[in-house]
Symmetry: C2
Subunit: 366 residues, 2 copies
């Protein structure tokens, strides 16, 4: 124990923080490791941001972020008091764990899921109970019918990409009525149906979305939550006890304009979905097994090659993909769907790396 | 109790959140209520921000904020691992309460001070012990020599504006060696000496600064902490368990450029200090008692007029000042030092409002 360790709050010791994907310095990388959007943000959003980079930055932003929340509410057919915004959906999730999921009972999350959930639990002293996905890596909602202080499900799930149909979620919400169910929809716009449509039916439902993925604004840090006004008030109470102004003026303006640009959104998400289907087909042709993804990434394993070694070999060719060294998916790579050109470069590199195996397989089956 | 209250984490009930100063909508206000800078941010910073409002926003920011932290470290003669950055100094403070001040013993703060400190304590289940300022509203460091889980002192203090000399702080640091001492230097650039110079001597010292005041970037949300690398690691552990990327790309770039623009900084802070001295003299001439301020605001009371009524009367003239309805300072107004023109408008309005009293006093003393 170091001399200065006594200064750390005891609850911090043993905390295992989240490790974000690598952000490489320098150019020339094909970055398929952090599920960023390969296409630029809305030009209208960039223009609006440039407009607010001016003397008004000397003034605090609107602590209530009213204009942005009104835009979001309008898009989802909700009232403004059913919308909360934060500094990226990670902050919104953190406030949800603090404000809505700390009840002295375990919070249920899938065993293969966003690895930040157990970290939040650690930070706030919540027991995290991991519920196994089934053998096909699917969420079985019936497994969540057990005493809990809350349920957190990403939809589509990450890093599997597998979607949970809305009727399965409804089935769960009809039975889990005494604790909050958080649906983390970071990837919803690439092929899932939003649970936002269920909010006025279920007061325990909190839906969280982000502008980092489908809106191509990971660098701007904006996320939001939708839910019953009483849930939103809990998040606001945490926020106003933590940081009154979580979103700067540029982020507020940019987010509002990006959400309003439906044409750019539709165009780019459709291109990503098309590239995903193309990439899945090509990966299968190379011998990979891909889970059926409704997100902007694929989780894939090659039966004859170690995922860690493949990741490293791709890295040497300046292609980054993500590998999670954890049970059940240690054989898999999570590959972000890049632009079509990036997907093609990846397939070329993999073809090259797998050529010896391909050749051997052809000989064996000949 | 509402039907949905069961969803709130129990610890949230009874929490009294911080109330930020009013951000009025519409134009024409003279805003002397939230200690914003009356001058624009550095033109170089605005230019740099405009440059990064581009396609790169689709990518996550550097989670380590290395470039910005190197700039800050260089300016204070510290190593980069002695610097932490966050989404406004409010977030940095919150992480300090969570990571360094939760020890099951009370945290000591002045009774008249930044009203967010007790709120953080409430959020994290820390007992907040308020230590009275002396009758002249000064911090007596000897009063802090009592068992504690940490000490938090703003310097200059807010809303008094009174500075604590560095030798008094050193005296305290030599005696309070077993818990962290946080010096909140939000207003340091308007007339106090930074405790950053003591960091390499005292491993328990954490200094927190912001770009919201002297750098005129309240709308950008950037703050930072300086301290022993082990204290910074604690803050980083909290951050990486909360939100990996607290600063967006625009804020990172703008903050770095703003800190580098020393000429603009010196010019604008000097103008504010000059206006503060002018305003203090004129307020005294109107019968106000002003505390000696080293910040960009004045705490003033008029012996013959209620502060709440004065605030309201000023508001009707579209001038906002802040009134804290709390013991010991309920008779005072906290007046941000605006531009010289704004200060003159305030003095004109007050002269007008106080004319009946002035006249009566003149008659009485004739």
């Amino acid at each position: 124990m170091k001399d200065t360790d006594r200064f750390w709050s005891p609850a911090l010791r043993g905390l295992r923080a989240y490790t974000p994907g690598e952000q490489p310095q320098g150019d020339g990388w094909i970055k398929l490791n952090t599920n960023e959007n390969p296409y630029p943000p809305s030009a209208l959003a960039l223009q609006r941001m440039a407009e607010v980079v001016n003397d008004s930055l000397r003034l605090y932003p609107d602590p209530q972020a009213l204009a942005l929340r009104e835009t979001i509410a309008g898009q989802h057919g909700l009232q403004v008091d059913q919308v909360f915004v934060g500094n990226g959906s990670d902050e919104v999730l953190a406030h949800a764990f603090m404000g809505l999921l700390r009840h002295g009972r375990p919070v249920l999350v899938p065993d293969i899921s966003y690895s930040f959930y157990p970290v939040y639990c650690g930070l706030y002293g919540i027991t995290c109970q991991q519920v196994p996905l089934d053998d096909d890596f699917r969420v079985r909602v019936a497994d969540y019918l057990q005493p809990n202080g809350g349920v957190v499900l990403p939809n589509p799930n990450a890093p599997t990409g597998i979607v949970l149909p809305l009727d399965a979620l409804r089935w769960l919400l009809e039975r889990n009525t005494e604790s909050v169910v958080v649906i983390d929809e970071a990837y919803v716009d690439f092929g899932a149906e939003s649970a936002a449509a269920l909010i006025n039916e279920f007061p325990q439902l909190l839906v969280i979305q982000t502008l980092s993925k489908s809106r191509a604004l990971a660098g701007l840090r904006v996320g939001f939550a939708l839910g019953h006004a009483d849930l939103i008030r809990a998040l606001t109470t945490v926020k106003d006890s933590f940081n009154s102004y979580p979103l700067d003026r540029v982020a507020l303006a940019g987010a509002q304009a990006a959400l309003a640009d439906q044409a750019h959104f539709t165009d780019t998400t459709q291109r990503i979905v098309a590239s995903r289907e193309w990439l899945a087909t090509r990966l299968a042709a190379l011998g990979f097994e891909c889970l059926p993804s409704s997100a902007n990434f694929l989780l894939a394993r090659h039966p004859q090659r170690s995922a860690a070694q493949l990741q490293q070999a791709l890295r040497e060719r300046k292609i980054l993909v993500r590998h999670f060294n954890q049970p059940r998916i240690a054989d898999h790579l999570r590959i972000t769907v890049g632009s079509q050109a990036e997907c093609e470069a990846l397939v070329d590199a993999l073809s090259d790396l797998l050529a010896p195996i391909q050749n051997a397989n052809e000989v064996a089956s000949a």
